[in-house]
């Protein structure tokens, strides 16, 4: 079974936006390695020809009519905001793309 390394945990933490501390990386790497070792059993069925189940119910085509429902007021929408300005959510500078 493939194990999981400390570097992989660090990479996953970056993808998941978790600023893990060094000691957490070590701790989690060990635990996750154990957990993955145990749950990897599922791959026993990987080559079985059965459809994957993404939903426990066989429902399809649940849709709503294109009718406007009341929105929250801007005050309600912003009520939990850590910071706001000009009726907008105020967030720190974004490093992403221009």
């Amino acid at each position: 079974m493939p194990g999981i390394t400390r570097e992989e945990v660090a990479h996953l933490a970056r993808l998941a936006r978790l600023e893990l501390k060094d000691e957490e990386l070590d701790h989690f790497a060990g635990q996750l390695d154990d957990i993955i070792g145990a749950v990897a059993r599922v791959s026993e069925v990987a080559d079985q020809d059965v459809p994957p189940t993404s939903h426990p119910l066989p429902l399809t085509n649940v849709m709503r009519a294109d009718e406007v429902r009341p929105s929250l007021t801007p005050e309600q929408a912003l009520s939990g905001a850590p910071a706001q300005e000009q009726q907008r959510f105020k967030v720190p500078q974004i490093l992403g793309e221009d």
Partner: protein
């Protein structure tokens, strides 16, 4: 900004063969968002059209907008696609502050429409087939306002302000297969494709597809390969190219840039690029390394979409005539050249002309007014033709007044001016401005007599057989009647009184 080396376009094409991929996002014109009942009306106060679902509040859940699905199917059918019998939404996971859930609800390996094509017509009439890979449903993001930097740019901003009114508005993403074989016409094909797609979206009435309002946005992917090579080169992805002209310019720029890099022995970096409207250039954005991992998986909060075949066929039967087919039909009916038809299309005059003809005008005059007087007005006022304050029915009424001899062209122009100025209907303008052609034979007869008496020399010439001199007398009558006489009738009267017959 560093100056980008470019190779001349001709030299680039002499060595390389361009391959393009176009990704177009269309905002649907539904009343509500894709997964919640918030209004999509433009111009609302910030964060006034949000709810737990489109804000991504804990506990909220999505429900699919039926018209969103219907529109997607219509677009798919119009693009000659197969429509999935069963497909799902997926989550595309990545963090970005304008995306409330930090995943986009989109479609991944099961798009609702796939494997189609769109035939586009180039300016000279040549038809080029663009193959469609897929059209899928997804949702838009919120809008960020970057504060503290230079003119709203993200770089140097101290913070950003987010408005989620746009978050969750339905988008259809339409992706072409690699467009090969266009050669030097690649930029033209790109532009024609986006233009044709826009016409089609409008004909389907699923969106206004206004590129200037962000309702239609295009990404241009481009790569070069040396002539004769099969495999594609590394591509660049130029994001958010938001006008037809820009699509053409972006493709052209990237061809020249890639060629310069490749022929100097460099390699193209797979990256996103930003297009600059001012000079038509592109600059490097984010490098697409393999760290990007969207971890797509089927959206567990939504159930599969399985459009019944009967429904799909019903939608197919309601599809309008495709724009290119319609244009060619109209071109023949109206008897205009390819070139003139292209001008009509570019002016946005096709639909107004059709509506004017439907309101009773003949094709020639409908075309004349929309492409002449009205196009000039639109140009001057910076409006689209269909935004002018005159209806096709009113234009048809003006044409009818002309045909009946109640107005001449000069008066008709004044009537149109009056309608545009908000003075009322054509008939009201005629009434208020007193613009009727003088048809009182008695008054006209007197005016003609006066003109003959006042221009005896010219009258003699006419009597002597120089019939073409009649124009001067007609002019005098028209002047005397302040243009309100029917010039043809005036001419008739003069000749009659002078005892001369034409021809």
């Amino acid at each position: 900004m560093t100056v980008t080396e470019l190779m001349s376009y001709d030299a680039a094409l002499a060595t390389y063969d361009p391959v393009m991929g176009l990704e177009v996002h269309v905002e649907l014109g539904t009343k509500t968002k894709m997964f919640c009942g918030c209004s999509t009306e433009l111009g609302a106060e910030p964060n006034s059209q949000t709810c737990p679902t489109c804000l991504g509040l804990p506990g909220s859940l999505p429900v699919v907008n039926a018209i969103g699905v219907e529109s997607a199917i219509k677009i798919g059918l119009a693009l000659n696609c197969e429509i999935a019998e069963w497909c799902r939404f997926a989550r595309k996971n990545y963090f970005y502050p304008d995306m409330p859930k930090n995943f986009q609800t989109s479609q991944y390996d099961e798009p609702i429409a796939f494997n189609g094509y769109l035939d586009v017509q180039l300016e000279d009439g040549e038809v080029f087939r663009v193959e469609i890979e897929r059209a899928h449903m997804e949702e838009d993001t919120g809008k960020s306002l970057h504060v503290g930097g230079a003119t709203g740019r993200i770089h140097g901003a101290s913070h950003s302000l987010l408005d989620y009114n746009r978050a969750g508005i339905p988008l259809i993403e339409i992706v072409t297969k690699p467009i090969e074989g266009a050669g030097e016409r690649a930029p033209e094909v790109a532009k024609a494709y986006v233009a044709e797609l826009r016409e089609l979206i409008r004909a389907l009435d699923v969106s206004e597809a206004r590129m200037d309002k962000g309702q239609m946005r295009c990404d241009v992917n481009l790569s070069l390969r040396p002539h004769g090579r099969e495999e594609f080169g590394t591509r660049s992805e130029t994001k958010n190219v938001n006008s037809l002209r820009s699509v053409e310019r972006a493709a052209r720029f990237e061809i020249q840039r890639h060629a310069a890099v490749l022929s100097s022995g460099g390699t193209i970096v797979q990256e996103t690029r930003h297009f600059h409207e001012e000079d038509g250039s592109t600059t490097a954005g984010r490098i697409k390394d393999n760290a990007e991992d969207y971890r797509y998986f089927p959206e567990p909060d939504l159930v599969p979409v399985a459009p019944a075949r009967a429904w799909v066929e019903e939608l197919r039967s309601t599809l309008p005539e495709m724009p290119r087919v319609r244009r060619n039909r109209l071109r023949e009916e109206w008897g205009v050249s390819e070139h003139d038809m292209q001008s009509i299309l570019n002016a946005g005059a096709v639909d107004p002309i059709v509506a004017t003809i439907e309101a009773g005008a003949d094709a020639g005059s409908a075309r004349k007014w929309w492409m002449g007087e009205l196009a000039r007005h639109a140009n001057e006022s910076g409006k689209a033709l269909d935004e002018l304050p005159i209806t096709p029915a009113q234009v048809a009424r003006v044409a009818a007044l002309v045909a009946a001899g109640d107005l001449n062209d000069k008066l008709a122009r004044q009537v149109i001016e009056g309608v545009l100025a908000g003075e009322g209907t054509p008939d009201e303008v005629v009434e208020k401005r007193g613009l009727k052609v003088v048809s009182d034979e008695g008054a006209l007869s007197t005016a003609v007599d006066d003109a003959i008496a006042g221009n005896a020399g010219i009258a003699d010439k006419i009597r002597g057989g120089k019939v073409q001199a009649v124009g001067a007398l007609v002019g005098a009558v028209m002047k005397a009647t302040r243009g309100q006489a029917d010039a043809a009738r005036v001419k008739e009267l003069i000749l009659e009184k002078l005892g001369v017959s034409e021809g």
